[in-house]
Amino acid sequence: MAEYRASPFGLYSMSLFSQILQFLFSGLTVGSIYGMVALGFTIIYNATAIINLAQGEFVMLGGLIMFSLTVGAKLPLYVGFPLTILIVMAIGVLFERFAIHPLRNASLLTLIIITLAASTLFQGIAMFIWGKDPYTLPPFTSGGPVIISGAMIVPQTFWVLGTAMTIVILLGLFFEKTIVGKAMSACSFNPMAASLMGINVRKMVLLSFVLSAALGAVAGIMITPISLMEYHRGPVLAVKGFCAAVLGGLGIGYGAVIGGFIIGILESFTTALIYSGFKDAVALFILLFILCFKPSGIFGSEEVGKIKEF
């Protein structure tokens, strides 16, 4: 490389506006990842009131299976994508059948702890299959980053954003407009009453695990080109995703995504205005602060919150 000439201060520095824009974009990128993960929490919670602590592992499996299919087995994107989702859905079925279903009479807390155990198990299995190295996927659209008024955003972020929006709309329609969706939310409020109304509660629980496994897989496929993926990534994604879901109001699709954006952007601007060492602390502090005044989250309703156990 040629000699780096001493650059006068500011030659390569950006204008204040592009800096602010850059921080915003950075927050959006991170936030969209949190939001995608957060979405997966909402469905199982909506159907069972279980907080699935293995949600991060669905994301991890999505990313890694997609890697094996498209990069490893060289399948085209449009085959690998649905196939990955199907495989992770199958894993979701097995998970529900072998870990949750036999214990359906156990308390909610027991079930949540079981999901924690499943998370460790999935990590162990993934470690055996893929080893400990991180993997990456090529971005969906090639080409470099997009520059908007001096600030950079990678095209993959648009894919994540678009997918998150689509999922929010579809989920909204599913829970509001379809019988199955309504039946599913009925189960979480009162499984007994729901089954008296002729709803097959067990089927709904199974369906909720399948759906959120699918959502996790989509999230994994979408974010791996940005953030890489390795067997151990699940828990951290789950923590941030869970915070986003709680901030937006547990169980609310658009709340989860917006919660993700808020946390992502807060982190980014803490880096910009205060210090990058404090970014997680500030984001979590604001989360606690909001929950102090509105325990059900920004978009959550107080009444619904009272009926549920968690």
């Binding site: 490389m1 650059s7 951290v236």
Partner: protein
């Protein structure tokens, strides 16, 4: 009655047999084989397995086989401590090798000191071998950037390059390139914290000013915000001190922000794994790395006394494990080979092994460097163990 006698005799025979197998030289080996630092621990474990085979197929150490007791610390301080206690108290090992990361090594060393057992760490931080009061003295002296450690922890050694030497090598390079202002971005784990400490301490020695000082977490997914701040600070180079996927993400963000060719990215030694270049998918072009010689053994000057050791280790490792060699496995190689030599000379005596390591490892060509241990230096090599490397077309090339 007769049958039970036969059974009893068989049992006795079995016990004596197993005991004769147990009468081997034991070496305690702790590494982060799984968990977040597994990509460091894995090649270390592989190397340990391979070396045990080598040594025992060559009739062991003067006829006595070697048994390397490998424990997984999972990259966690707590587990590393438990493994160390188990090895010392139950397995009665005369020496501990480990662990892979600075944090774990810092947690393990008080136990080895208390049990008066020598320990060879495979992690990099200067403070592993330097007592805290000595570190404080160096940092609070009138000219901290000119200080070198004079005192070392009695029982503790390490074979990985010192972070301080890595930093000096980088700053020497900056000086040669007339870079006066740098931005540093470090991960907030043991490795990053110690690296940052040295980056800040030594800057003045090379007339360098740190104009931005940013942090991130090990599993963060995007560092654009921190790099944007560095870009705006007037820095002429970015120095990133971290490891694992985060190091690749920083590289991608640096490339996406269009900093290549304007504000060069200098990476700490942990970047020395070909997989990182592959993962960055082109973004690593032009990245500068401070590296030990193991990963580019073929390009090392044939006159260098390390050359035969490097070539043998590299070719054998890559043949045996079908994966690229890394500097980390090299640390395990050096630690085990030193220990074997000490065991051969003095037998399994803790104090004698320690003395041997401190006084007899002289001009000792290892994978990491030419080791010269002394009472004031328990690492044994300095900036001479490193080279500045540039990523050119996906390959390591000596930086010009």
């Amino acid at each position: 009655m007769k049958k039970s006698w036969i059974a009893f005799l068989t049992m006795v025979f079995c016990i004596t047999l197993t005991q004769s197998v147990w009468a081997a030289y034991k070496i305690g080996f702790v590494a982060a084989i799984t968990g977040p630092a597994s990509w460091i621990g894995e090649p270390e474990k592989n190397t340990a397995v391979m070396l045990q085979e080598w040594i025992n197929s060559a009739r062991g150490i003067s006829g006595v086989p070697v048994e390397i007791l490998i424990e997984d610390s999972k990259g966690m301080e707590g587990d590393a401590v438990l493994a160390t206690k188990k090895l010392i108290e139950r397995d009665k090992v005369p020496i501990i090798i480990g662990s892979s990361t600075t944090g774990e090594s810092m947690a393990m060393l008080p136990i080895c000191e208390r049990a008066e057992t020598p320990m060879i760490s495979m992690a990099s931080a200067l403070s592993i071998v330097t007592p805290e009061d000595e570190m404080k003295r160096m940092e609070t002296s009138a000219q901290p950037w000119l200080e070198v450690a004079k005192k070392q922890r009695y029982w503790i050694f390490k074979v990985a390059e010192k972070d301080a030497d890595n930093v000096e090598k980088i700053y020497m390079y900056c000086q040669a390139k007339k870079i006066k202002k740098v931005g540093i971005i470090t991960v907030s784990s043991g490795y990053g914290v110690e690296g940052r400490r040295q980056l800040k301490r030594l800057a003045r020695k090379y007339g360098i000013e740190i104009v931005a000082d940013e942090l991130y977490e090990m599993r963060d997914t995007d560092m654009t915000a921190q790099l944007t701040k560095i870009k705006a600070s007037g820095a002429q180079a970015v120095i990133n001190w971290s490891f694992g996927p985060a190091q690749v993400i920083v590289t991608k963000n640096w490339s996406d922000l269009g900093m290549r060719g304007k504000i060069p990215l200098i990476q700490s030694g942990a970047f020395g794994n070909k997989n990182n270049i592959k993962l960055a998918a082109g973004a690593a072009e032009g990245v500068i790395v401070v590296l030990q010689r193991a990963v580019f053994a073929e390009k090392v000057d044939p006159k260098n006394p390390q050359k035969p050791v490097l070539m043998k280790y590299k070719t054998e490792y890559e043949k045996r494990f079908k994966s690229d060699v890394s500097t980390f496995g090299g640390h395990a190689y050096d630690a085990i080979m030193m220990t074997t030599e000490a065991l051969k000379a003095v037998g399994p005596d803790k104090k004698k092994i320690r003395d041997y390591l401190e006084t007899k490892i002289r001009y000792w060509p290892g994978v990491g460097g030419m080791f010269n241990m002394s009472p004031s230096d328990h690492t044994g090599f300095g900036t001479d163990g490193m080279e500045m490397i540039e990523v050119v077309k996906g390959e390591w090339e000596l930086a010009k």
